[in-house]
């Protein structure tokens, strides 16, 4: 029996020892951190004038002056941090000048050395800082690190650093390859990382669209949102017809439509009966913008689609398509049933409640015409009287 108690007593001793160690460690860490904080504050104050002076000199032609005097490592780091903040915020000539200053002050060399550190954390930190300083010569080393790195948050850190430092398109391609090789669907993240580059992104995106690796194509497609790049339209058109992968095609169609192309009727018909709901929804949405009255019957049918987004976008487009479209919407609300009716009602109310901006004459005219139709179907509105509410029929799992 006693042996059991002995085990327990040993357990107690071990705990006691570890507690002692832990408390000592805690105080050591805390005190160290506090002293760093204090010194940081001191150095920040010390160099305040230098920072101010630099900021007045950023636009002059002469070289930016180095920080005065001999610097301890913490001081260097504080100055470097400040410069890196500026690099991140600025574009153009000013940024280049700050980067040059980083080189001249030896910050880049210091970090390059740290890439060889035995500690993993130091190496990661160095790559992060090299990225911030746009140190071109670090790119091959960073790519090497990225290649060997197993997938973790560090992958993104290094990937971002490569994207910031790279001065050749091939390096970016290599970086994308390493990031995507782990088979995770991180296209959005990869696109964000890719867009950090200083190189002309539209050229790279064009290259990616033609790439054999579908993952690369996806990255390009998501990266192109919000970037008007007319040169890529033909490639998109090709992708929206041929791409093997469902989501690649959907993305391509969406993008292609967002460029407001002129579509042939049979193309529209074909796209509206696509098996992918994202495609149908995108087409339904764009039909409203195109003001193609011929598409009204298609939209009417799409109001019965099983997917909420398709129904919603179709109704929205109908509401945009003048009186004919709006009248059809009213008709659906009155004669239709179930989900299509609900969608129609919602959008009718939306149009009515939005009212019109009375400063714009043409808007007022359109609105009043719609209101007339509304009154014919639902009676006169007095301060947005609600249309009889319809209880939902069945469940809808599409969104």
């Amino acid at each position: 029996m006693f042996s059991h108690v002995t085990v327990a007593i040993y357990f107690v001793y071990v705990c006691l020892g570890l507690i002692g160690l832990g408390i000592a460690l805690l105080f050591y860490m805390k005190l160290k951190h506090l002293s760093t904080l204090k010194k940081t504050e001191y150095y920040q104050r010390k160099h305040q004038d230098y920072f101010k002076y630099l900021q007045t000199q950023l636009y002059e032609d002469q070289e930016l002056p180095l920080p005065p005097g001999k610097l301890v490592p913490l001081e260097k780091r504080i100055i470097q941090d400040k410069l890196m903040e500026w690099i991140e915020q600025f574009k153009g000539e000013v940024r280049t000048r700050v980067i040059e200053l980083c080189y001249k002050a030896g910050f880049v060399d210091d970090e390059m050395e740290k890439l060889d550190s035995l500690y993993f954390s130091r190496r990661v930190e160095a790559s992060y800082r090299l990225g911030m300083m746009r140190a071109t010569e670090a790119t091959p080393r960073l790519l090497d690190m990225l290649r060997k790195q197993r997938y973790s948050p560090v992958t993104t850190i290094i990937g971002r650093a490569v994207s910031k430092t790279a001065d050749q398109e091939s390096q970016l391609m290599e970086m994308l390859g390493y990031m995507l090789k782990h088979g995770k669907s991180i296209h959005n993240l990869a696109a964000d990382v890719l867009l950090e580059t200083r190189l002309d992104s539209s050229k790279i995106l064009l290259q990616l669209l033609d790439h054999e690796n579908p993952d690369f194509v996806k990255v390009a497609l998501v990266a192109m949102w919000g970037q008007a790049v007319p040169e890529v339209i033909p490639a998109l058109n090709r992708l929206s017809v041929d791409a093997d992968e469902q989501d690649v095609r959907a993305e391509a169609v969406k993008l292609y439509l967002s460029s407001n192309p002129v579509l042939r009727d049979d193309t529209i018909k074909q796209l509206m009966s696509d098996s992918n709901w994202e495609v149908r929804a995108a087409v339904a949405k764009s039909l409203g913008n195109m003001h193609a009255a011929g598409s009204i019957p298609l939209l009417r049918r799409a109001m019965q689609d099983e997917n909420w987004w398709v129904r919603n976008n179709s109704a929205e487009s109908l509401a945009q398509l003048g009186e004919t479209g709006f009248e059809l919407l009213c008709e659906t609300a009155q004669r239709g049933s179930g989900l299509e009716r609900e969608t129609a009602l919602f959008h009718i109310e939306k149009v009515m409640s939005e009212g019109s901006d009375h400063r714009a004459l043409d808007q007022m005219v359109t609105f009043n015409k719609k209101r007339l139709i509304y009154d014919r179907y639902f009676g006169v509105i007095e301060t947005s009287k609600p249309v009889r509410k319809v209880a939902a029929v069945g469940g809808d799992y599409s969104a």
């Binding site: 920072f51 101010k52 900021q55 007045t56 950023l58 636009y59 400040k82 903040e85 500026w86 991140e88 915020q89 600025f90 574009k91 153009g92 000539e93 000013v94 940024r95 949102w225 919000g226």
Partner: protein
């Protein structure tokens, strides 16, 4: 005559503020202000100036300085621009008679003819007299006065950005103020009536779009120009901002040179 009582040049630490107060107290219907600067001038420059002015019949005047002997301000109540200019010419001529080698610069203006003599305007006048290259008398125009008046409120959560912008704009002669959150910004806009608000959208205290809306409401017809400088690149947000009457939208990272140009365009 009031000037006979002030034999000594009065020295004011806050010169511009004192002038503003003087205007408030004496309420002249028109008044001229003349800045006079002579690099390496004699220490008794003020006495010389006073002597010349006193020699003129029926002239009401004050000679002030902020302690620098070679820089003087002459306040001339009840004089319109042409008389102020004439006094300037006279002063210059007489001074050069006594001190032929004097390198004299004069900038003058008459108010309210040429705007409002706010501290910013006075500072601008004083700067202009120091910087002026030609020895001709410089008449400070209304346009110059207006340029001096431009106040910019910088709103950003990030102190680095605020510091940078403040230094930058002050170099260009704007009057700058800063706020680190949306609520403080709204307060300041109400109090200071800045000409332009340069703001981040992503702020503590209030959501970006309602915030823009609020700014527009503060001074009914005289809403300040609004330039957004933000990290936010979402297209929908950008278009919503323009719909709400934002004058310009710039995304970070930004080019300071381009920012200057856009600010200038907005203000003019």
């Amino acid at each position: 005559m009031p000037n006979s009582a002030t034999l000594q040049t009065s020295i004011h630490e806050n010169l511009y503020q004192s002038i503003e107060e003087w205007v408030k107290e004496t309420k002249p219907s028109v008044y001229g202000i003349l800045f006079l600067y002579a690099s390496a001038g004699p220490t008794n420059l003020d006495a010389q100036v006073r002597r010349i002015l006193e020699s003129q019949p029926n002239l009401d005047f004050e000679v002030w300085s902020d302690g620098e002997a070679n820089r003087q301000v002459v306040l001339l109540p009840e004089l319109t621009l042409d008389s102020v200019h004439f006094q300037g010419l006279l002063l210059k001529q007489r001074l050069l008679e006594v001190l032929p080698n004097l390198d004299l610069r004069i900038t003058l203006a008459s108010f309210p003819e040429q705007g409002e003599a706010s501290q910013a305007v006075l500072k601008q006048m004083s700067d202009s007299v120091m910087k002026s290259e030609a020895s001709d008398i410089h008449i400070f125009t209304k346009e110059e006065a207006e340029a001096a008046k431009n106040r910019i409120l910088i709103v950003d959560n990030d102190a680095t950005i605020r510091e940078f912008l403040q230094i930058r704009f002050e170099l260009q002669g704007y009057e700058t103020y800063e706020a680190d959150n949306g609520l403080v910004a709204l307060d300041l806009i109400e109090k200071l009536k800045p000409d332009l608000v340069l703001t981040e959208l992503n702020l503590y205290g209030i959501d970006g779009l309602p915030y823009i809306h609020h700014i527009q409401q503060i001074h009914n017809n005289q809403a300040p120009k609004i330039v957004v400088l933000t990290e936010q690149k979402v297209e929908q947000t950008i278009s919503q901002c323009f719909e709400r009457g934002v004058d310009d939208y710039i995304t970070k990272p930004f080019s300071p040179v381009e920012l200057d140009a856009r600010i200038r365009r907005c203000i003019q």
